[in-house]
Symmetry: C2
Amino acid sequence: MSPKITGELLRLLRHAMKNCKYFSEPINAYIVPSGDAHQSEYIAPCDCRREFICGFNGSAGTAIVTEQHAAMWTDGRYFLQASQQMDNNWTLMKMGLKETPSQEDWLISVLPENSKVGVDPWIIAADQWKNMSKALTSAGHSLVAVQDNLIDVVWIDRPERPSTQLRTLGLDYTGMSWQDKITALRAKMAERKITWFVATALDEIAWLFNLRGADIEYNPVFFAYAIVGMNAIRLFVDLKRLSDPALRDHLQLDSPSKSEMSIHTFPYESVYTELQAICAAHGPKDKVWICDRASCALTQVIPKAHRSPIPYTPLCLAKAVKNASEIQGMKMAHIKDAVALCELFAWLEKEIPKGTVTEISAADKAEEFRSQQKEFVGLSFPTISSVGPNGAIIHYRPLPETNRTLSLNEVYLIDSGAQYVDGTTDVTRTMHFGTPSAFEKECFTYVLKGHIAVSAAVFPNGTKGHLLDSFARAALWESGLDYLHGTGHGVGCFLNVHEGPCGISYKTFADEPLESGMIVSDEPGYYEDGSFGIRIENVVLVIPTKPKYNYRNRGSLTFEPLTLVPLQVKMMNTELLTQKEKCREVICGELERQGRKEALEWLLRETQPIV
Amino acid sequence: MSPKITGELLRLLRHAMKNCKYFSEPINAYIVPSGDAHQSEYIAPCDCRREFICGFNGSAGTAIVTEQHAAMWTDGRYFLQASQQMDNNWTLMKMGLKETPSQEDWLISVLPENSKVGVDPWIIAADQWKNMSKALTSAGHSLVAVQDNLIDVVWIDRPERPSTQLRTLGLDYTGMSWQDKITALRAKMAERKITWFVATALDEIAWLFNLRGADIEYNPVFFAYAIVGMNAIRLFVDLKRLSDPALRDHLQLDSPSKSEMSIHTFPYESVYTELQAICAAHGPKDKVWICDRASCALTQVIPKAHRSPIPYTPLCLAKAVKNASEIQGMKMAHIKDAVALCELFAWLEKEIPKGTVTEISAADKAEEFRSQQKEFVGLSFPTISSVGPNGAIIHYRPLPETNRTLSLNEVYLIDSGAQYVDGTTDVTRTMHFGTPSAFEKECFTYVLKGHIAVSAAVFPNGTKGHLLDSFARAALWESGLDYLHGTGHGVGCFLNVHEGPCGISYKTFADEPLESGMIVSDEPGYYEDGSFGIRIENVVLVIPTKPKYNYRNRGSLTFEPLTLVPLQVKMMNTELLTQKEKCREVICGELERQGRKEALEWLLRETQPIV
């Protein structure tokens, strides 16, 4: 992987920073966050501004350019990748290490007195703006909103914003009509005396209207905003997308009778002026709900007296708690996904000895097997297919220049998932097709013990996910090992593979209690830089459980694994383990039904009960 | 326990709330926090205002009185006790339960529009003032500072503020002179460009000057403030206390040469005007460090531009990390303490069958045995000596009207500790002198498993205590059980038995990473209301450890138990346990040396190795 050459781009950007056409005074520093105007984690090509300026294409990172310096902050998953993708113009800021300054502290240390720090107010979240602005102001600087995005100014061949076809989802999949979702939302609004709710997160809008798009690779969402009042629904979207009669019928756009369930459609860009008009037409008693993490631009349209910011929206929480139809869909999706992966592993076992399988061809083969399954839509994220040392790059994505051949001598880690119309999958398996070393087996077994400790945990209702994180690490810690990422994230149902507001992490920010029906991943790992990576990931469903006692009638919860792909027994130090191999019987049945014989034989052999 | 009759007191308080002598307008609600002007947890009798007004005498709780209502918030440790000590005029607000409103939400729900809520600014912390004020203002009310304390107005026979004799501690005990502590503090101040530091916490001031007092029962502290500049040290204390020549010598008060180590003494009450004068004499570049939790009154003396609030002070952190002399002292104190408790348990075993031992007489006997040990000063907190159902009252203190007789039929829980000149102890043991029930044994064993899981945990440097809390609960959770308190608190060295900034709790607030040399308690429990209570508590020292690997050179930590009192084997379901009984050999030696034969025999019998 060779780094992006950024000298000329930085020169142009610094020139734009001094150009009073964009801001009334020269700007001393310019912040380039990684998100889009919806604070999406995965973004469309037109929004990959941070990648454009520095070369690093991971999912999380913030670049800051000053007259003298260019620095990029990212977390432990990406330290190796970022250092390989950025040239010498850039300093990598390793977040989470004690010696790494925060963006604010760094800016204060390098800026001349009374500096202006610019940022595009549409791609910085309101809460981030607030914190950054406060820190800069207290040091005598100021954070300023630059309306024209300065990256776009220097990005000559920037792609268009996508506008793909929309797909409607029926009740079989969603379990709840969009009208019922609106009614439930309005009930929450009434409870808190809220008059308007502004939805800016793309997955929340897709979930609310039971629609899916393909505007962002891997995420079945579409660019839109929605504003919901007690008697009005406004949807902001490229109007050309609304011509399909089935779609118009789904949204009841042509219904002659107007009611509080009538959707008024507006062009995507008009959200700013419409929200302004709504706020102007109402008194300060009309409170508007908007997420803390919505864009600063849109948040600041709402006068402070009207604004009722929330750390996560009622849609975010409602979406996280899956209903019976969604759970059923997720289960079906995971069965199909397990069939595809069993086929992959049987194929790998046969092909690897020939020396012709690479990280890229293995990933392609995984996609091919998945695509043969019913209602396959696409991948849920770029497949991490990594051999040996590449496995230690936590969010590695194989590229032609890094592509390694699978062999009988190295550990193979594949973290992959798909979007099916009925659900989203995300699974990681770590395999060895020859003989793993004692150290590799030892590490694998610690990771597995952590994985099982979380999956098998019983905990009271109301417990937040961060209280389970250490269970995943205890076996590693005992041997002096650890991993620098969280243990689990929420998973959408035919939606984003990462979603809030719950998860399992040592970070406690915006962590809502786990509830029955929530779906999260359980994915501890261990990474030996320059040598190998191990991660074991299942998607698990939070379910009620009834242990022997019921203290203060609080009730208890545990997890049910949805992922049914077997683990490789030869990677385990079996004396350390007691394991219930639930996956065997379920997947065998499905493989048999589908007549996939080789994969069935592989599965039977791989999942011999541990004696 | 009969509740305090509060009708007449509330009438007088409400009368004072309307009296414009105390505030220019009538006050609609008055808040009575539990602390003193130093935000101490344990307080002197003159500061027990919340107890005076509502009757509840636990260590944590806030009372709020309005025209119509009187409500008192406390946490799970005190639900039973508070409900027994308060009469029908009071509503108990159970903190931590979902249905319990916060103080702010409750006030907003009961107050008429545009209300004034009063509080004494000396006994509310600055951060609490800020939060409360913000919430009330956003609902149209206001929080106002009432300079005269309205409880004192109606408290005719309020005791005097104590002014006990001060004790100096030499280097053998402290390991560091107060001059070296001042130098270290100034180095921290220089690092952060701070010109003045205001110390308001009594234990921090006692630690800084290597002095101890006895102004507050159980806590060897004295009423004082200190303000430290780069060239000046000001100590605010009742000047009558400074006549002792040894004390004057320790503080070098009569040294003829003036230097940056000269202490200037001022009357206790003059801290407000002196701090005002300091702030007036300096520019806005002179930053003043003061803890977020210092009193609102003193914090607001410092103009906002000068103020640099911190969640905990550098003294708090320095005090928490014990040096070699302090660790040695703590170890010696715990050996003496274990000798006293072995004597107690041997005595109890002999006396209980006679039916003459009560909770109070057992507590007295424990104190008697402790007082025979060298350098005993007093107890470190009121002994919790509780039989059967009283054990379920988490911070129970036996009173004549609740006093229960120890018998062969009920569980006995004793949580007690002492102040020795060389260290502070805090230990809980749960015993049965007859035959425990299967359920009692089961619960004891889960609690023990949690206790051991924490004590034996290995974790990376930089880990915060809250990440270990779930280890203490996992065995209980698995059976549907739990306890409604944290797992551990910091312990001072001949100082407060509860101290920050570290601990082990599901609460993540102001939780600093554990460091080698810190000392915390490890005390999971289980409480069966109306039946019994179980708690197992050791004080443990954070020590470095070297597991097999050392991931990213971070280093690992674990705990060394300082408490050496054995656990009762008959309370255990031994098949569930593997335990290293370290305490046996150390304490046997000490009992033998001291010629305490009966206790030695008891210890030998009780700590038979588990087969």
